[in-house]
Symmetry: C2
């Protein structure tokens, strides 16, 4: 990457896909997970704030900023469930890194694809620390846009070998099974959530309905299970029956955000939850009992996007999968913005 301060490298969707293919999608998620672990271990030094949300009738637009004091990052992300029927993405995103020292942007990137990778990488980090040792079988409830990433991240990072798929829409399951057929995983398409969860060590729920839904009911959840509940990510959207929550050891990213957006919005505001980052630093213990039910109530937090953007910036040191954007005014004399415009006349 060049160091001209007025030029901001931009990673388009096409370049993001090619960068991922250059390196291998599982490698990328493993690398992003390492950046997430690094940032979770230094969690207290980050500027943390619940996302800034603009709600409308059909959806929400959010800005998710954070900073570690050296870099500043934010993600723009929308959530519009009704988009799918119009052939549009439910969630699109882009993000930016900037230098805290100068305030100058240093990287702009699409983040629809990158968010899919970081979401799966985050689930894999949670699973690595919370699932029973030797977990081999994953049930994937919800076989939409996030499903394949979950399967491959948990395969690479947590040693998952078998994935059992279920979706209310069988064509989604077919799509997911097709995409995973050369993954080296044992892929089993199921016709009910009960069947999918049979024999599973880990469950990831990643459904997209914006409503208080119950994807998993209490009787389906046996001892020792680890659950990644990642489809509940806004007020009014949940996936797990309240009774499951009451039986689980609950781990979250950032409690003030998760209590509003996560499955725990069904619980009292003072229901005890643990913060995942403290498991990574060793401040609290994770799983201590093979019969415990652990739940990672993941809603997606700004620090994970920050980690993903840091990964991307470093990856671009050895890749040309970006374009230069002329995004920052760079007058010869900082106080002469007007003169800069006037002088442009001679170049037109």
């Amino acid at each position: 990457m060049k160091n001209k301060l007025n030029i901001v490298p931009f990673v388009s969707v096409e370049n993001m896909m090619r960068l991922i293919l250059d390196r291998g999608i599982e490698n990328c998620m493993e690398q992003i997970a390492a950046y997430i672990e690094e940032d979770f271990r230094r969690w207290p030094l980050f500027d943390k704030t619940p996302r800034v949300a603009s709600h409308s009738h059909d959806g929400v637009i959010e800005l998710m900023p954070t900073s570690d004091g050296i870099d500043y990052g934010f993600k723009y992300v929308n959530g519009h469930p009704k988009n799918m029927k119009d052939g549009l993405q439910t969630v699109t995103a882009f993000g930016l890194l900037a230098s805290v020292d100068t305030g100058y942007p240093v990287l702009l990137s699409e983040m629809t694809v990158l968010t899919a990778l970081r979401t799966a990488a985050t689930s894999a980090v949670a699973t690595k620390y919370l699932a029973r040792k030797g977990s081999k079988t994953l049930a994937l409830i919800g076989n939409g846009a996030q499903s394949e990433f979950q399967a491959l991240a948990l395969k690479r990072i947590c040693g998952i070998e078998t994935v059992r798929l279920y979706d209310v829409d069988p064509t989604a399951t077919q799509k997911c099974a097709g995409n995973l057929k050369n993954s080296g995983m044992n892929v089993i398409a199921c016709t009910s959530p009960e069947q999918a969860i049979e024999g599973a060590d880990v469950v990831t729920t990643c459904t997209a309905d914006k409503q208080l839904a119950t994807i998993l009911t209490d009787n389906m959840v046996g001892a020792g299970l680890h659950i990644n509940g990642i489809g509940g990510d806004c007020p009014g959207k949940t996936e797990l029956h309240r009774d499951i929550l009451l039986r689980s050891d609950i781990y979250v990213e950032y409690p003030p955000q998760t209590r509003i957006e996560g499955d725990i919005q069904q619980l009292d505001a003072d229901h005890p939850v643990k913060e995942l980052w403290q498991v990574l630093t060793g401040e609290i213990e994770g799983r201590t009992d093979d019969r415990a039910i652990t739940l990672f109530d993941g809603v997606g937090f700004a620090i994970e996007d920050f980690s993903a953007l840091r990964w991307l910036r470093d990856a671009l040191q050895t890749s040309d999968r970006f374009q230069d954007l002329d995004m920052i005014a760079d007058p010869d004399e900082p106080r002469d913005l007007f003169g800069m415009i006037e002088r442009e006349k001679t170049r037109m």
Copy 2:
């Protein structure tokens, strides 16, 4: 502009300068002022929030979102006073418009240059409604990056004919006078603020120091003056002596933000201030007495950036001063993000 939803038009610094030169800078500011007036008149329907600021030792990075229910806009802007000595801009910015209906971005633009225009246009709107009728002479205290824009916007929109310049740094005054020499204005370089303000109908203070400074003292301000105090725009940064504030009718953009950032941070939290938009709608009277001192304590508000972005989007309907950015993932099937990446292999 094209209507492919995954493609976002981007206006670079170069294209912004050329678009402005194509149309004439005074015309652009006059047009932007009309958009600002339009949005100020429908002020109550906007989502309003104080900006989301991340403060560090040397500066601040802010996100300024707003929405009118149809469009959503935000600006990224930094403020790093120490940048100037390193040959960097103190303030850089970019912004985005998105559709509230789909959450999809529809325009990305540099906003360092555009902010300069909207800031001057906003001062001109305030001056138009608050200065004495027939005001002809402007004193410009602070001859930095914003100064020429102030002079030309107030010339075009408010009928200012003479500008009297002062800056603590005489080279800044020379620069500003040089840039304005073919403007059709009578330009007078002064060597003290007292000299600059002599005979002025309107004063704009636009200095850049991040400290409690007193650019104008009480004895300098005579009856009937209108003041645009626009350089005080963050906590700890003011330009006017408190005694001036106590003698003035004070107009602001958004009180919760201005009380923290504006010159009125020197006053009690309940000191009466008026909201400029209400003067435009006629809900309150503006100037009623030729001897009154009126102060527009401008700090810059998200709605003005929104107005500027709306202007830009409309201007691009008849201009090719933009490039297409591949910023939004557009899978053939929204739930098949993974398949979209895999299929990119065949195009590499």
